[in-house]
Symmetry: C2
Subunit: 329 residues, 2 copies
C-alpha cells in the first residue's frame, strides 16, 4: 500500500543507505543538494524489525519535521531486491530473506518508501546527480568487498523483470577459475573483489613468506591480511602488493573490455572503498580496455571516478523514490 | 531523406538479408506471414553499387508490383551499422566502410529503407515473430563462423547510441587466452565460433595425428578441417570431435552463465549454422548455465532453438523497418 501523503510536490526527499554496519540518512532537494545527513551504527545481522526501528529513529532524530516537508524516502540495501514490489528477497549481509521492507517502513514513517539494490541506487545517483549526468549509457563499477555494478542503457536502469540488478561482478573471466562466493568459478569478483584480493594475498604470502614481510608487519599475521593491507603495503612500495594489484587490475581490464563490447557505454564510473583505496586498479582497467575493446567504443568511453563517493547509495535511493513508482502492498 | 511513399499503411513489407555470398529477399505481411521469398548469389567483396543493384534486381524480379503494395524495406547486414543514420560503418565480410546504404537503396527502390546489423535483426525477428514472442528480456545467440548476439532488455533492443549491436561474442572468458579475430584475446568466439572450432581442431590433429584420422578422412587434409568437419566427425562417433565439442560447449556455458548474471534474460534463443549443425553445443551451454548462474535466474531462463532459422535476419529486418524510424539522409 502506498501511503497517502500531502507533500507529494515537496522538493525534499530522504535517502537512506542500509549497510551491514551502519545506516546513513540524508535529506536532499530535487537538485540533490544535501541539506543534512547523519550516520549511525547498526548491528550486522539485525532483524528487519530492528533495522526498521533504527532507520525510523535516525530519520526522526535528524529531521524532526520530516513529516511536514518530505515527499518520499528511498532506501538502498545490499542484496537481491524485488524493486517492483518493495521486497528484500535476500540480503546475505543482513541475513534477511523475503522482507517487505518498503511497506513496513512506509507504515512506520507515514511516507511513500521505495527500496532498491544499493549498487543500482549508487549508479542511478551518479547518473542523475553525479559523474554521469547527461550520459544515457553508463556502467557503474563499485569495487568494495565484492564487485557491485549497475548499468544505465538507453537512459534506463538495466534490471530484470522484478527489478534485480545487473550482476556484472559475476561474469566469469577465467573458465574453471577460482571459486567465487556466488558458488560458481572464475567470476571477476573472485580475482578483484576486496575479499578475493585479501585471499589471494594470504595464499601468496604463505607460498613465499620471504615476499610477504611487509604485509605481515602491517596486518599482524598472515591470517589478518586483507585488501586494506595490500593497499597499505602498496603505498609503502612493497613489490608483492604491486604484483597483486597489477594482476587484479589486468583481470579487471579483461572483464571491462568484455563489458564495453557488450554494452557500449559512453562512460564507466568507478567507486567503492577498494576502488578509492587502490585507485591504480581503475588506471590499469582503463589501459586494458582501451587496448582490448572494439575501437569505436574503446576510444569513446570515458572512465571517471565516482563523484558522490560514500553518499552515492543514499542520493540515488532518494532520486529513485522520486522518479520511480513502486507498489508497497 | 526518407522517401515519400503512398503505401505507408500497407500491410506488406520487404525483408532482405545481405550475406557474404548470397542475398535473400522476402515479402511478408504484418503478422510475418511470408508471401514469397528468393535467394540469389552475390560476390563476396562486391562493391556497394553492385550490391544495391543486386538487391534492387532481386526485389523487382521477385515482387514485380512491390511499388504498389509495399510500405517499407528492411535490410540486415553483417557489420557495424549506424542504425540511426542508415550507414554501414564497417562490414569486413563485404569490405565496406562508411556506406550510406539505406539512402542509396531508398533512392533506387523509391521506398523507405531501414538497415540493421544482421544479428540484431535476427534477434528482433525472433522476438517479434519467432521463438521469443511476448518475452521482453531475451538474448539471441547465433553460433556461426563467428558468435553473433542480440539483446532485448525491457522490451527494447540493446544498442549503442548510434545503434551498434551488443557484441557478447567478444566478451572474454579466458584472461590472456587465445587470439581472437577482433584483435583481443580470450573472447568466447575464439573458443566456440565456427572459425575457432576449426582452428582448434586443426591444432589438435597436428599435435596428435593418431586421434585425427576420422577428421582428416572427412576433410581430405588437416588444413581443410573446419567446424563442419567436426560436426560430421561427431555424427560418426569420433572421440576427438566429441572432446572438442565438449570443451567448446563448456566454455560457451561459462560465458552464458556470465551473460545470464549480467542481463537476467527470461529466454535464450540459439540459432546459427554451427548451433544447428552441432546442437549439443546448446545442450551443454544450458547445462552449464543452470549450474553456474544465480539461482533465481538459472532456474527461470528458457533456452530454446531459433524458430525462424535462416529467415530470421530478413524477417527481423522487415519488422524493424515497420517499427523503427530511421533517417536516411
Amino acid at each position: 500500500m502506498t501511503r497517502s501523503n500531502t507533500n507529494q510536490n515537496s522538493p525534499l526527499t530522504i535517502g537512506v543507505d542500509i549497510g551491514g554496519t551502519k545506516i546513513t540518512v540524508l535529506l536532499m532537494n530535487r537538485n540533490a543538494r544535501i541539506i543534512d545527513a547523519a550516520t549511525r551504527s547498526t548491528d550486522t545481522n539485525a532483524s528487519p524489525e530492528k533495522v526498521v526501528q533504527d532507520v525510523a529513529a535516525s530519520i526522526r532524530n535528524t529531521f524532526p519535521n520530516y513529516e511536514d516537508t518530505v515527499s518520499s524516502a528511498g532506501l538502498g540495501v545490499a542484496g537481491t531486491i524485488d524493486r517492483k514490489r518493495g521486497i528484500v528477497q535476500s540480503a546475505p549481509n543482513l541475513g534477511w530473506n523475503d522482507v517487505p521492507l518498503a511497506s513496513r517502513l512506509s507504515a512506520k514513517l507515514q511516507l511513500p518508501v521505495h527500496i532498491a539494490n544499493d549498487v543500482d541506487a549508487a549508479t542511478y545517483g551518479e547518473w542523475k546527480h553525479g559523474a554521469g549526468q547527461g550520459v544515457d549509457d553508463l556502467i557503474g563499477i563499485f569495487l568494495g568487498t565484492g564487485i557491485g555494478t549497475g548499468v544505465i542503457t538507453g537512459g534506463r536502469l538495466l534490471e530484470s523483470e522484478n527489478g534485480s540488478a545487473a550482476e556484472l561482478g559475476h561474469v566469469p573471466v577465467i573458465h574453471e577459475g577460482r571459486s567465487c562466493t556466488c558458488g560458481y568459478r572464475g567470476c571477476v569478483e573472485a580475482y578483484a573483489g576486496g575479499w578475493a584480493l585479501g585471499e589471494i594475498a594470504r595464499e601468496r604470502v604463505r607460498e613465499h613468506p620471504e615476499n610477504g614481510r611487509t604485509m605481515v608487519d602491517i596486518a599482524g599475521s598472515v591470517d589478518q591480511i586483507t585488501a586494506r593491507t595490500v593497499s597499505e603495503a602498496l603505498e609503502q612500495g612493497d613489490d608483492l602488493a604491486r604484483e597483486l594489484v597489477q594482476e587484479s587490475g589486468k583481470i579487471l581490464g579483461t572483464w571491462a573490455t568484455g563489458m564495453v563490447n557488450a554494452f557500449h557505454p559512453k562512460q564507466i564510473v568507478i567507486g567503492g572503498s577498494v576502488g578509492e583505496g587502490i585507485p591504480v586498479l581503475g588506471t590499469i582497467l582503463e589501459e586494458e580496455l582501451r587496448k582490448g575493446a572494439f575501437d569505436e567504443f574503446a576510444t569513446t568511453v570515458d572512465v571517471v571516478e565516482s563523484r558522490l563517493g560514500n553518499q552515492a547509495v543514499a542520493v540515488g535511493a532518494a532520486a529513485l523514490s522520486l522518479f520511480t513508482r513502486q507498489s508497497t502492498s
